[in-house]
């Protein structure tokens, strides 16, 4: 990799640049795609340049992410750029390795130039790229097979050890001295692995922002949208179908919220707390269909929340254990209770 020093302020950036030697790049350390295009990567030929460019990046926002640090990095003499990545192809349902011998910015747009190989994953083993050596890609890339295999081995290891959904080196540059240098590396970690693997979480915590991690570890799924009808349900498919019904009857959903399995009073309270922060909410549709879900508990959770929070009108459908008791509780509190999903949504939309 090119020599680089992380800096949190202008003074240190200048020091780093002097140390590394000019020219340098200043790269904003923000988890954002297409940094170059967004002005997150700037070149500097001397000390004044470095001060100027560092001031332009530090403390500003790039794609709504605050830039608190810059990487001051040696600018290499690039002869050619490659692109390589390990990722999952969800349509093929396979792990794949992608390679382009004409890499660099915008490679996604030139999809025709990317070769894809299947990757075999085995427990406790390095991933294996199938068919790569026979493909003639390496000679076309003019990179020594040895160097290349070393790089792919390292990237492959990151892919499996960090449970990455994506490990991308773009560009992998060949300098005029034919040295392979990873100019930019992007790693995206599987959220489910962060939840399921404590050791991985510990490793990632050292790099990632704390509050983003907290968000991931919570089981509830909440996505903000721009409509007026709040939607809460149990099970992603059911929630999506409820949202689709809102649209079908002429309105727009304000959000997606899946309570997940084992919904109870607490999960309902937390869900309503999240919804209440949305602007312009006209009403909330609650659609819970479950076998073991205790409907009376959910009803109690709803009624409690009505007292504690300023909620818009609620339209509720609860199917499961103790539905009759739930119905009684909601009736007593003036909350419309429905047994059928379509009648529920229609009433909410016209209410």
């Amino acid at each position: 990799m090119p020599r680089g020093i992380l800096c949190g302020d202008i003074e240190r950036a200048v020091e780093a640049a002097d140390n590394i030697g000019y020219p340098v790049f200043l790269k904003a350390q923000v988890p954002v795609k297409e940094r170059l295009r967004l002005g997150g990567i700037l070149a500097a030929d001397n000390r004044d340049d470095v001060s100027k460019q560092a001031a332009r990046l530090l403390g500003t926002r790039i794609a709504n992410q605050e830039c608190n640090r810059v990487l001051v990095e040696e600018k290499m003499d690039i002869h050619r750029e490659l692109f390589l990545a390990f990722t999952y192809d969800l349509f093929q349902q396979k792990a794949v390795f992608m390679l382009s011998t004409t890499g660099g910015a915008g490679v996604e747009a030139r999809a025709g130039e990317v070769s894809t190989f299947e990757v075999a994953l085995k427990p406790e083993k390095d991933p294996e790229i199938l068919g790569l050596s026979d493909s003639g890609q390496l000679s076309r890339a003019q990179i020594s097979e040895e160097n290349f295999l070393e790089i792919t081995k390292k990237a492959g290891r990151i892919f499996t050890e960090f449970h990455a959904e994506l490990v991308e080196i773009n560009p992998l540059a060949l300098t005029t001295a034919w040295r392979p240098v990873a100019i930019d590396v992007r790693v995206s970690v599987d959220d489910d692995a962060l939840f399921s693997k404590p050791e991985l979480r510990e490793e990632v915590k050292k790099i990632l922002l704390e509050d983003r991690l907290k968000q991931l570890v919570r089981k509830q799924n909440f996505v903000e949208l721009d409509g007026e009808i709040g939607v809460i349900g149990n099970g992603a498919g059911l929630v999506l179908a409820t949202m689709d019904l809102v649209r079908y009857f002429g309105e727009r959903p304000a959000n997606f919220l899946d309570l997940g399995g084992g919904a109870d009073a607490k999960s309902v309270r937390e869900a309503l707390e999240m919804l209440v922060s949305l602007e312009g909410l006209r009403c909330i549709v609650i659609n819970v269909l479950g076998g073991i879900t205790r409907c009376d508990e959910i009803a109690l959770g709803l009624v409690e929340s009505m007292r504690r929070l300023k909620l818009p009108n609620l339209y509720v459908r609860l199917v499961g254990t103790n539905e009759k008791e739930a119905q009684r509780i909601l009736n007593e509190n003036g909350v419309p209770f429905f047994t059928d999903m379509e009648t529920l949504v229609k009433a909410a939309v016209s209410g």
Binding site: H163, S196, N221, G235, L240, A241, M243, R247, L289
Partner: protein, 293 residues
């Protein structure tokens, strides 16, 4: 004979002493499922609802015969549990209830299952039910009634919703299978679809799909190559979901313009599948298209 499992299928429960495992073991036994043994490490000798518990699949195998397993293990240990089941050599069907299994592990489990001739259902699935015959899963039994409609679904609770609507309209089900909501699934919708095509007890097929991936398009392709052998009806959830936002199921994401509602609806319609615009419309479509319902 129902697809995948029938009333004589002998079942092992992995993670049997956990809260979920123990609870659903009782419910499945009440339904008539033939649970013969259970596994929880370090709990050998215990009994759950009268079912003997062993430390490992191998130990259970030394004392009982079984050809299927259902795993109620947390995602942290899902890979180990699955490997144990697959390496047993006798388990032919593995249902993984576990949610949040890392994609890498789901893929490893799936590939190993394929290599060893083990049908994997899930992960993140409510399982399988052949009403009146057997239940290898956690779905609420009262919703499902025996009949001849086969259901294959990516969503659990949406499957309950549609099955419930069918049942209350006198339309029963032959077998209902949840393939799971994750990005990588052990068995695709197409594989279940083909089994329904070959099942004499299934007269019509209902697909409950979702945005993301291309499983619905694969079924459409298959029908176009092989012809429509039975009436097929579909409901696809997520029409309203904006692209690039993961909505719950890891699998339900429209990415780079692919896997969207329009692509699925168009492909299926062209192949002769009737698409319902709302879940309950499945009932009217079935009634309209089948003289005897």
């Amino acid at each position: 004979m129902a697809i995948l499992a029938h009333s004589e299928t002998k079942l092992l429960v992995q993670g049997i002493t956990g809260r979920q495992g123990a609870f659903h073991t009782r419910i499945m036994l009440e339904y008539g499922t033939r649970i013969v043994a259970g596994v929880t490490p370090n709990r050998s000798g215990q009994k759950v609802e009268g079912v003997p518990v062993y430390n490992s699949v191998r130990e259970a195998r030394g004392n009982h015969e079984f050809e299927a397993s259902i795993a109620f293990v947390p995602s942290q240990t899902a890979l180990q549990a699955a490997l144990e089941a697959i390496q047993s050599g006798t388990i032919r069907l593995l249902v993984m209830i576990s949610e949040l299994v890392p994609i890498q592990e789901a893929l490893i489990i799936r590939d190993l299952g394929k290599k060893n001739n083990v049908t994997l259902i899930g992960p993140n699935t409510p399982g399988i039910i052949s009403p009146g015959k057997t239940k290898i899963g956690i779905m609420p039994s009262y919703i499902f009634k025996p009949g001849d409609v086969g259901i294959v679904s990516r969503s659990g609770t949406l499957m309950y919703e549609i099955a419930s609507t069918l049942s209350s309209n006198g339309i029963g089900q032959s077998t209902c299978v949840g393939v799971g909501g994750d990005r990588i699934v052990g068995t695709k919708m197409l594989d279940i679809f083909k089994k329904f095509e070959g099942d004499p007890e299934t007269g019509a097929i209902v697909l409950i799909g979702e945005i993301g991936g291309s499983m619905e398009e694969e079924i459409a392709s298959h029908i176009q190559s092989n012809g429509l052998t039975k009436p097929v009806f579909a409901y696809i959830a997520g029409r309203t979901a904006p692209p690039e936002k993961r909505m719950g199921h890891a699998g339900a994401i429209v990415s780079a313009g692919r896997g969207n509602y329009e692509s699925k609806a168009k492909a299926l319609t062209v192949s002769g599948v009737k698409i319902a615009e709302t879940p309950s419309q499945i009932v009217s479509l079935i009634k309209k298209n089948l003289s005897l319902k």
